[in-house]
Amino acid sequence: MSNASGLAGAAIAQAPARVRSGGSGMRRFMRQRSTIALLMCLPLILMIALLIVYPAIYAIYLSLMNKKMTRFVGLGNFTFLLRRDTFQLVLFQSCLFAITAVVLKAVIGFILAHLMHNIPSRNQRIWRGLLLVPWVIPLAMSTLTWWWMFDPTYSAFNWVLNQFGFKSIPWLGVGWTARFCTIAVNVWYGTPFFMIMYLAALKSVPEQLYEAAAIDGANAVQKLFLVTLPMMRNIISITVLFSLIVTFADFDIVRILTAGGPQDLTHVFATYAFQVGIQSGDIPLGASVSLFMLPILAVAAYFVLRGVNRRSREMAA
């Protein structure tokens, strides 16, 4: 009896302590940095869920429906697309457009970043500002300006050519020339992004590494390949991945310059999806076109980000 009453007394005595420990646990949980971070990010997460995740899931759902959106057809839209010559052309053009543009942007951006890095800091600010202009102007507006310069009838470029006695070139009227024009405008627009990212990366490379390399007798090329590039690998990977995704999804430049013509030779996924889905009323097929690169880009993103994480851990260790 006394034993039982003793246990009960102990339980009663411990009860407030449990309540106290529960309350302090909650407080501790709320004080954790990860909790605070989550709470602060929550509005953004909700916004992304609403504006990106939901439309993406809805697009996947649409891509699995028939034309009238009344019946589930599985991957029927995708297999149908693969059999079409025009879509194969779109696939080729999209890859050509994205890969060529990203490579050119990366190379030109890298060169510009190096040149910029070696300019004295006061002048650097001016040049940096000037070179960022293409990236700052709204893309639709700047593309319209380019369109005027390439215009079939009143091209500024043709005017210059004519002044020197050359014949006019139908810039947007012939397949490969039109492809070149769309890629060139994308490179013009996107290079400043690469430049600014690479410049930031260059500035973060410790000067001591170059000094050590110089003491070891490394020349400029060796410094570039053995110091600069390894130190910039993460930034290069992330920038290229980000740009690849954005360039694959490009719509404005092609839509404004050529609308996919001549003869479908400049269509990319987004412009073709718009034409098929919105203009021609086949929304499921349009959704399938726009989602076509999703698995490939997702796999690429996985491997690139895994590499970045691995290198970050190595550097931290």
Partner: protein, 447 residues
């Protein structure tokens, strides 16, 4: 005096009785009969929106309906995108303007308007064939063809250039008055090719586009129709290997040589610019190019004459683009929406709007093609008299690909299949290759 002294029991009872009786009194205020929202096409003539708003306000005031009017531009496909978004969301305007195929694309989400169309057709006769083709599905009208934005795209030529380089008097061929149309009989696609060659040699090529935008598609669609070159028939069978298609391609092989080098990259503004800049002798377009020339290049405008499309072996077809007004099924005030549309399509309203936009808008009912505005617009006087189809033109309105059912034809139209076939010929491909390409494309449209 203290307030409490004023509020006696009797006065409180009177106030209560009056308050209780209030709902029984019908107060006719601005929104008494509900609300409506109308998504109009934003007219390129600014006064076109103002007169529309005025008419809507007059109706709203009379019927005590609160009407919200939005003028949505078709530039950058904004009108199309707005309609698509509203269709997917099941919310938005009660009435929406649709361009050409867009009403058909949303037919299952639009309220049938057979009753409204019956009242209009009883009064004004049947609408034109393109309106019937695009506005009906399964024997039901699902959208009402409107004048606001509806247009023909006939040839608009430079009078002097056609006379000097081709020996063709377009004013005599298509005068600004009723006539037998005998002189117009010689205006064929062969005559057009001959004239195109002469003008090209003179340095003023016909600015006919071979791109994938509407002006190119409409004009080349009229050419195919004139040869009876149906790519897909009404039963969905591909007819691209027919003799008629081969015939139109053989003809086109000659024609494309005389078109500008950059015709394959034309958009809807390229032909306008070519005419206004004085670089072209003929374009296929509504009078908007002429109207801009009146402002920017008066000498060019004074030398412009609009007339019917050339004839081919199977007839004379004028490129036509129809605009519709449709009522969404989700509209909360459907009867008021029908009333408003009916009011706006009365002859006097249509004519009042047309007078303001210089005759640009074409009524969907051919019985209204006698408005005075087309006789009086100048310079030169009568320049757009032949813009609407007159009975003596012996012509029909046409929309590209309409031999097929609209759900198939819309793909042909928006993918620009017909002008692309000609663009391929211009780039040097053989007729055989072009037919093979088209056959593969069309197979995809009929899935």
């Amino acid at each position: 005096m203290p307030m409490s002294r004023l509020t006696t029991r009797r006065s409180a009872m009177k106030l209560g009785a009056a308050a209780a009786a209030l709902p029984l009194v019908h107060i006719r205020s601005a929104g008494a009969a509900g609300k409506l929202s109308f998504g109009f096409w934003d007219h390129w003539v600014p006064e076109g929106n103002a007169v529309m708003k005025k008419q809507v306000d007059a109706w709203a005031d009379k019927n005590k309906v609160e009407v919200q009017t939005d003028f949505i531009t078709s530039v950058g496909n904004k009108l199309l995108l707005t309609a698509s978004a509203e269709a997917q969301a099941g919310a938005g305007h009660d009435i929406m303007a649709f361009v050409e195929w867009d009403a058909h694309n949303n037919a299952d989400k639009l309220l049938p308007v057979d009753d409204l169309m019956k009242r209009l057709t009883d009064k004004y006769g049947e609408p034109d064939k393109v309106s019937q083709y695009l506005g009906r599905a399964k024997d039901h009208w699902f959208a009402v063809p409107t004048s606001s934005g509806s247009q023909n795209k006939p040839p608009c030529a430079r009078i002097s250039m056609m006379k000097n380089y081709c020996g063709m008097d377009v004013q005599a061929m298509y005068p600004a008055s009723e006539n037998s149309g005998e002189a117009a009989a010689a205006w064929t696609w062969d005559a057009l090719a001959t004239a195109a060659e002469k003008c090209q040699k003179a340095g003023y090529p016909f600015a006919m586009g071979l791109g994938q935008t509407t002006d190119s598609v409409d004009a080349i669609g009229a050419l195919f129709a004139a040869f009876g070159a149906d790519l897909i028939d009404g039963e969905g069978k591909i007819q691209v290997h027919s003799d008629n298609v081969r015939q139109v391609l053989e003809y086109s092989q000659k024609l494309v040589k005389f078109l500008p080098d950059d015709a394959v990259s034309y958009d809807d503004a390229s032909n306008n610019r070519a005419l206004i800049a004085g670089k072209s002798a003929l374009i296929f377009n509504p009078p908007s190019a002429w109207a801009v020339a009146v402002r920017d290049a008066p000498d060019v405008a004074k030398d412009c004459w609009t007339f019917s499309a050339p004839a081919g072996p199977k007839g004379r077809f004028v490129p036509h683009q129809t605009y519709f007004w449709g009522i969404w099924k989700f509209s909360q005030n459907q009867s008021a929406a029908k009333d408003l549309i009916e009011y706006l399509l009365q002859r006097e309203q249509v004519e009042a709007r047309d007078n303001v936009v210089q005759g640009y808008d074409l009524p969907p009912f051919p019985s209204m093609n006698d408005f005075k505005i087309w006789e009086t617009v100048e310079p030169p006087k009568g320049t757009v008299y032949n813009y609407p189809i007159r009975s003596w033109h012996k012509a029909e309105p046409s929309v590209s690909g309409s031999s097929a059912s609209p759900d198939v034809a819309v793909q042909m139209y928006n993918r620009g299949t017909m002008p692309t076939m000609l663009a391929k010929l211009k780039s040097g491909q053989s007729i055989k290759d072009v037919i093979a390409w088209a056959s593969d494309e069309l197979e995809g449209f009929t899935r």
